[in-house]
């Protein structure tokens, strides 16, 4: 899907300081080698299955289906993975790759903390040093995850610059990588950044759609009518979409965080409100002002609170192969509570964005239709924030 220069249509590329160029070239070379290496793939499969608990379940949400009265709803349970989110898929792949490359130290950015926790986990498992950059604002919103990372032996560095959220954590991790490359791998957490990251992360996350395909054929004997996933940078979404891109009968729907609404400035919906730009190593769509200054975006979800979108999503949007829809804080919080009550599953507030859109479209669809929604993570980490959103103050 990627062409020679790491482009998806006009998107992607390698807009990074010269200091990092040989590092990404070396990474690409190593990746191209190991992705064909049977031993690497055997080790990764073993980690996926024995350690992360794959394959994750494709669960028929019977009560939700009956309650909404339309399409049959299946939930892809990435929340059941070890560490509680899809992030572990990518991290195990990158950590193993880094180890093969002789790196001894992982650095990562994190928004909600799920990618940071996953990276700290893999580092602990593989005996590597780990430093995680996290916006100071997010260390407050996601204090529990900060504790988890420290418990796992990682150093967490609160980033105070800019808006003190995910984009600033990415910038700081890039700065750190520029200063220490020899022993350090930047374990980027989403399908973004310079080539080859969008491709590497996608390939490691593609296990999600690979499994969905097998599981839905087993259960229903046919492919779904639509696959839904939330999109920040877009890693769980691209993972959920990837093996369906060449199946034109399957609608692909990415759900962006609209925050307080796409007509306000407090939004993180990039496709809805952004325009073409160059940032964080890639050409893609970004929320920005008329002079190209990156916008301080907002969402209740720390994991979707990012002003850009991965280049492959930008391309899927350009070609019309995937649709991207905005979902507000309010809608996501309602879906968060709805899934807890209806199915006894507390989803991550990120994943709740996809569930919220499913709640809108499922009732409009016939009962013979099938929707698959990826529950990218579990929601324990969000309980305090959602309680606050509802005006209740609880102590963790």
């Amino acid at each position: 899907m990627t062409n020679a220069n790491g482009r998806f249509g006009i998107h992607g590329g390698q807009y990074i300081p010269e200091t990092l160029m040989n590092a990404v070239i070396e990474l690409e070379g190593a990746y191209l080698h190991y992705k064909e290496d049977p031993e690497f793939n055997r080790e990764l499969s073993e980690l996926f299955n024995e350690y992360a608990g794959r394959p994750s379940r494709l669960y028929f949400a019977k009560k939700m289906t009956e309650d909404l009265g339309g399409a049959k709803i299946y939930l892809k349970r990435e929340d059941l993975n070890h560490t509680g989110a899809h992030k572990i898929n990518n991290v195990l792949g990158q950590a193993l790759l880094a180890k093969k490359m002789g790196k001894t130290r992982l650095i990562a950015e994190t928004g909600a903390g799920q990618h940071g926790v996953a990276t700290a986990t893999a580092a602990a498992l593989m005996g590597m040093e780990c430093v995680v950059f996290m916006g100071e604002e997010d260390t407050i919103r996601q204090a529990l995850n900060v504790y988890r990372m420290r418990l796992l032996g990682a150093e967490v560095i609160p980033v105070k610059t800019g808006t003190a959220t995910l984009k600033d954590a990415v910038s700081e991790a890039m700065r750190e990588w520029t200063s220490r490359i020899e022993d350090t791998h930047y374990c980027l957490g989403s399908v973004m950044g310079p080539h080859p990251f969008p491709t590497i992360v996608r390939d490691f996350q593609a296990v999600i759609s690979k499994e969905i395909k097998v599981q839905i054929l087993e259960k229903e004997g046919r492919l779904p009518d639509a696959v839904l996933a939330c999109v920040g940078g877009g890693s769980n979404a691209i993972g959920s979409f990837y093996h369906f891109i060449d199946e034109p009968g399957v609608r692909l729907i990415g759900c962006e965080a609209a925050g307080r609404g796409v007509d306000t400035f407090e939004t993180a919906a990039t496709i809805a409100t952004g325009r073409l730009g160059i940032f964080h190593g890639m050409k893609s769509y970004f929320c920005q002002d008329e002079y190209g200054q990156i916008a301080p975006v907002y969402s209740i979800s720390a994991g979707l609170d990012y002003p850009g979108i991965g280049p492959e999503h930008a391309w899927l949007h350009d070609t019309g192969r995937a649709e991207y829809v905005p979902v507000t804080d309010d809608e996501a919080v309602n879906a968060f509570e709805y899934l807890a009550r209806t199915e006894g599953i507390i989803p991550a507030i990120e994943s709740a964005h996809a569930l919220a859109h499913a709640m809108k479209i499922a009732p409009q669809m016939g009962r013979e239709k099938i929707l698959v929604i990826t529950v990218s993570g579990r929601g324990d980490k969000d309980c305090a924030a959602i309680a606050r959103y509802r005006g209740e103050d609880i102590h963790e």
Binding site: Y15, N22, R275, I278, Y291
Partner: protein
Amino acid sequence: MSRIGKAFENGKAFIVFITCGDPDLETTAAAVRAAAANGADLIELGIPFSDPTAEGPVIQSANVRALKGGVTTDKVFELVRELRRDVEIPLVFMTYANVVFSYGTERFAARCRETGIDGVILPDVPFEEKEDFQPVLNRYGVDLVSLVAPTSENRIAMIAQQAQGFLYIVSSLGVTGVRTEIRTDLGAIVEVVRQNTGIPCAVGFGISTPGQAAKMAAISDGAIIGSAVVKILEQYGKEAPERIAEYVRQIKAAIR
């Protein structure tokens, strides 16, 4: 040879970086004039960007202050037009890809020529991505200045062969900012540069003292100082231009 070449005709070149609009554009104009009058051979004007990923804390803060003060790309072009009434040394922009791209590369290049900018440095545009910018800038007589880093190794020759204006040699790993020591074997890098291009090269990142500047200029064609100058602006604000004049005199005397 472009106008940038003139910066290297007066002995070793001293290149000064200033973030536009920190603390305000009047002070920037005064600081540029002070530097130019006291021996700076070329000025890099930083157009502020919200997320300057190649900068250390000092220049990051300057970007924040400038943007808070309401600086825009258009206002920076007006500043250049005003400076060009009397400032004759080469002026280049240092900014990030998105600032140029979102303005419209063609429109940006045209305004560079119209106001008197000689080159553009984009630290997030490596050799592989320069096709987006270089041909357009060149059509308007504006150079795209390339950078080589301590990690460039096998890439130095390729970059040097297509370099324009001057070649910016990044002294050490990491982001911009003052360093106590520079350990990279810059002599070896300069040697490869010389074998592959006739254009001058200058060393930047981490230089602040006259001693460091002299050492860097001795192995190349000049020294670039940013963070140390921006620090003076941070500390003295509107009073900074006088101090910058003194600082520039000291450095130029050391490297001459």
